[in-house]
Symmetry: C5
Subunit: 355 residues, 5 copies
């Protein structure tokens, strides 16, 4: 039902490091490979069946972007691994979808793990999908768990040809892909922002035990998002700071922009976190406030009628010698006393501001 908090990997225990086993759900039936080549004047895009066709592309001066959707074809990963000289541990990480966002710098390429986030509409849960990016001198390889439209805007800009992206290298493409992922975070943030506002509304009107569950659900979403975005901050910060190879200095200003967006996301998450904790307090306080009101009603009713019932009880006694019972005005007098007690009580409560 609920997405597991961390991907089962105990089945891998004891295996040799670098053993490539797909950990995670199989989200697509068939692995698809899309190869896009472009330079300032040319553009080709094709779907290939096997990775052999794409290897010769490696030597050309143009930029080659290989986008692989679906991670369960271990053979394919291995072929790409040997074609592009990818370390077995990296191959392992590509298919093991429980990685933290990170950056690893090798001689031939750098390996970046990022996470896409989206709200599963059915379950109203945050789902994260691992997207691995290999960046080399003139190629970028992306590995997605499933078909998504997050990269389509980048693809469109390459197709149109009039954008900056066609004039720049693989590093700019890598940036553009990361930017697309981070931009997507804002969509999730907006959905969460709406949830926050809905919950605040609900809290003001009719908070129930279900509201509490929703607040915790929201908190859980924020924790999940933070866990995914926080390490990405370091990844992008590192590229900037350490002058990672393949990234030209003209791309740095764009990376700084992505970095700013990540910081903004984290800022907003932090603000939401504080608001959610305020909501919890409000919920608990409103529950105890209701309790108070219930108690007050009980107290007022009981405090008024218990003494009156006592008075009635007195004159319900069967003693032979009770002179009041014989008095002609006894009954009205008792009524007067009772009304007096009643009014006194009401005034007392008014003074105490209970009613």
């Amino acid at each position: 039902m609920k997405p597991r908090l961390f991907k089962k990997s105990s089945q891998k225990t004891g295996m040799s490091p670098g053993t490539i086993v797909h950990i995670g759900e199989k989200k697509v039936d068939r692995v698809t490979i899309e190869v896009i080549e472009y330079d300032e004047s040319n553009f080709t895009s094709k779907r290939v069946e096997s990775i052999k066709e794409s290897i010769p592309l490696k030597e050309k001066p143009a930029v080659t972007w290989i986008n692989i959707t679906g991670l369960h074809d271990i053979d394919l990963i291995r072929k790409i691994g040997s074609a592009f000289n990818v370390h077995p541990l990296v191959q392992e990480d590509i298919v093991h979808t429980g990685q933290r966002p990170k950056l690893e710098d090798f001689d031939d390429h750098i390996y970046i793990v990022t996470k896409m986030i989206f709200v599963d509409p059915g379950l109203d849960e945050i789902i994260d999908e691992q997207i691995s990016i290999l960046v080399g001198k003139n190629f970028v390889i992306t590995f997605q768990e499933q078909k998504g439209d997050v990269f389509s805007a980048v693809r469109d800009r390459i197709v149109h040809g009039r954008f900056r992206i066609r004039k720049l290298g693989a590093d700019y493409l890598a940036y553009a892909l990361m930017d697309a992922i981070v931009d997507h975070y804002f969509i999730v943030l907006e959905r969460i922002g709406e949830l926050v506002e809905e919950l605040e509304e609900e809290l003001l009107n009719e908070p129930t035990q279900k509201t509490l569950a929703s607040i915790y659900g929201l908190k859980r979403k924020l924790i999940t998002m933070r866990k995914v975005i926080w390490p990405l901050r370091e990844v992008v910060g590192n590229i900037e700071r350490d002058e990672i190879q393949f990234f030209e200095s003209s791309t740095y200003i764009y990376l700084r922009d992505v970095y700013d967006h990540i910081i903004q996301t984290l800022d907003t998450l932090e603000t939401y976190r504080e608001m959610v904790s305020g909501m919890l307090d409000t919920y608990l306080s409103s529950v105890s406030n209701k309790m108070n009101q219930v108690m007050k009603v009980l107290t007022i009713i009981a405090t008024i009628f218990i003494p009156l019932t006592f008075i009635a009880g007195i004159y319900g006694m069967n003693f032979e010698y009770m002179p009041e019972l014989k008095w002609h005005w006894g009954y009205p007098a008792v009524w007067l006393i009772m009304i007096f007690v009643f009014i006194a009580m009401i005034i007392y409560f008014k003074v105490k501001k209970w009613i």
Copy 2:
């Protein structure tokens, strides 16, 4: 109604980076451009219609300050961008009003994002407005979202001519503008200080559920302010530390002064935060205290009258053979017993310090 916690930017998702789209409310109808030129002996100020007129000013040795109010005229931003060689991403940031305060250092100029804060009198909410400052060798360009009087004191000092500002360069002007913004924070802080005192008063007298809402409103204001001021601290600290170009060392002492003010603001915010959290505790404790009092009244009344009613109930029974009912002093005796029980209870409560 309430200002959104973060500016919608999902509409930008998928656009090419550097695409200049105004994000934020359109707060003025017409964009106005004010150009002020001055050196120690001369001063001119004019409103221009288009930015072309101001470009030749760029080469003069005097200081030129271009103040632009209103951000929705994308064309104008683009013209300024190409006139002053402003990077497309910076142009994007100028019109996208959801930036965090930051400083970016380019060859020709430095770009500073700051935030004005004011209390919206109607909604009693903290509103922040983005003010971008471009500082070059002999010019400063400021971008405001709407007309405000925050810079008028600076303008006045330039007009009067007898102040230090006329003798110093663009870096001092940039400092003076930042100083004006930070000084404005103190006005908001004072308003918040008054709110804190009002709420403390209210807490002591008659706390209601509305008081709780006000406390959370206050907390929210403090979070918003902190979010805006905290990164500014780093911005000003960086200028000082990293010896950013265009800023002369004689200006550093002034920046240190601004830095001190920012730290003071944050200190005060922190103190308010601690006070607000103390207020929350006080509120909750006063609510539970009231509950206690209600419960005590109920307990005292019920504990006194339930046994008395029982006694009355005993002698309301209709058994044929109840000797007490026949006794001549039965009735007064029951009254004596009841009065005794009553007094015993009262003494018990006195001993327990409940009344």
Copy 3:
């Protein structure tokens, strides 16, 4: 009963430093020594009785792995100590099982303390076992408290001979052993993950005082795990950063992998910690919610019947002159009044949304 939170070491107070005393439970009867030698083409494995036999192995170019199970044979430790030139303080630490994970760099070898974690099935407690690793130029010596299968996967890979491990040196063996230990953490994490889910289920259905105890038990487990894993992070990080001797740079990428796993473990622990604290809040809120419901029932019943009983009490009084008692329709009229009061109360509660 419960594992003690820290191993008694007061019995050692006042002893000379370097005095080798076994602190901790004696978990095996006989100490066993297993000596494995291998290079790319050869492999021998034997159980030895005494450590003298293994000393000549030290000079060979192949890798020698000496695995010692059981720490109470002080003599053996001392012999190994003098054979491999191990500092007395290190000998002391090997047998004193209360160490924190740490790394110490000596001239002839490095000394690494790690901790195995497993869930004791009977007590449902986290048990940690100290595993010391001595790494030299061409040998690795491991000290385990008891027989366990954590290293068997590594042993198998050495036996099979087709894996990378046979081609690489002692540093890779040390890495493989640490990797096996860290992989084992995930199994414990999964068990804890199940516990978290079970508890969440229990919380939703029928939380009892026992649930609270389980939540604290879980919290205690998380604290224990964190205490053991946190310093290990630094140990592995240090090898990478400080370029510890004996570790070749080609092994660094594997260490980075272990490091990533440790960080993932800590991340997951942190997430669990936040969830457990959320569970606590949920528990307390659900308890107070139940209380609320109980109070409401009491209030509704009391508030309805106390006034009615008062009315009945009125007409139970024995005054001689009570005209209502004589009326023919008095009794039905009282019933009507009572039914009216009853319905009015019910409507009131409906309006207040209490029923």
Copy 4:
């Protein structure tokens, strides 16, 4: 009434930086200037009317200490400013009493802001007073808000002449003054320590709503003190670390001593803070404990008498055919039943440990 949490400075908004405006209460009527000159063999002390007389002292090799009490004479500040070449911003800070403790290093002198703390006996509030110290090659100028005896011990030691202070330079005098201020903190700490103990006593005996207010008052005092002392730690630490000019290395050990005292103060504040938070918990728990006791009494009384009253009610019914009413032993039998129920209830409560 209560001291404002931060000094109003909005009245300064828009003024040119370096504009000298006294912010803070005017605490003395007349500004007094005391000039003390000393070297190992000579000592003179006089009150001067105007600052001109003291300027020639500046060149002498002896140490000159000018102590100014009262900050509202802007003219005087300005004269001193030009005589000793004090930067306008520093002049501004001297008279604006809302500064944080800080140290600024100029060519001719260093500027230190410190804060005196004392407990206002009437209001039982922590009051802080700003003391600015200007340290030059052979002079020290101190600016106090009001007359106080904090410096009199230093003055006495100079007068007596047999102390170390007469043999050493202006840096030692500056140290001695800071030491005097920090020593004063301990007096305030002791007063707070007494308050803590009084409150703990009160909590154990008879906590009331007023106790809660006192706890928060204490917390507020601790916050105020921490806010003032924390930055001072950095000030003194900086002198030591950065080898600030005018301070000779032989003075460093004395500064380290002051530093240690500040750390001790902060340690003690931290301990008090933890104790105060424990007191809050104790208070809340004792309130809820009392509530529990009240509830128990109510429950016991009601639970005993409600069933008994019901029994009495049964035999108060007026059915014609109620055989028990005719029985001769009916009435005693009912009493027996009631006594039995009573005793059963009491035993039940005893078993439940409620009484």
Copy 5:
């Protein structure tokens, strides 16, 4: 009664720095001076009356350990001060027992402040005692507040002569003394561990208001210990890192061992702290749980009998025309109704799982 949280030092306010005043309790009547001299082959130990005798020892190549018990003999401190060239501020710190653990490096010697901790059996409070250690080229001077057996194990090892300590220098002696102090911490930790377990037991069985006080007592003990041990960590860490003079590199591995022990102590303290905070929550939750049970009993009794009493009240009315009263089966019918209501209520509570 309770040990004061910080030693009174206000009596020192205004004194010249370096004024030697004993602050703290006078814990022994007579100050004793023990002088131990040893090298690999010789050993002498004597009690001396005055410090003059020990001065000539200073020049010998053997190690001299002077152990002074009792700090109130100011003259003695001063004599040692001038004999060993101890800075007046250090002399002041030796006799002022409120110091934080620290290390100060002088030309002739280093000065280390440490704290012994023990549990006062009568008051069950943590008492700390200041132990100052002066380490020079070939001497160590220790200052204890009172007679204790913490150093006797070190003395024994020197006497026996077969231990490493006789072969090594003053730095090893200083290490051995610090090690003895830190080893002692574990004894206190064990006592606290027992307290934790006792309290956990008590919490499970019969928590009372006294349990709460014990929990806070425990918390206070942990705070005190942490305050004393935390700075010691830095002291030992500094010796290692900064290569303090007099300490030879062969001693560093021993210091690292002490450092590890301190970290272990702090780790355990942290774990205890988390457990104590869990105990607080458990206590509060168990209190509110009891309250719940009390409320349930009240509710069940009241909810059952209030309606029944009402029914009885109905037929206790004295209307002349109440047909039910005349019915022959009226009385049994009422009983049937009442029993039905009773059973219905019980079923309702069963369904609600209240009983």
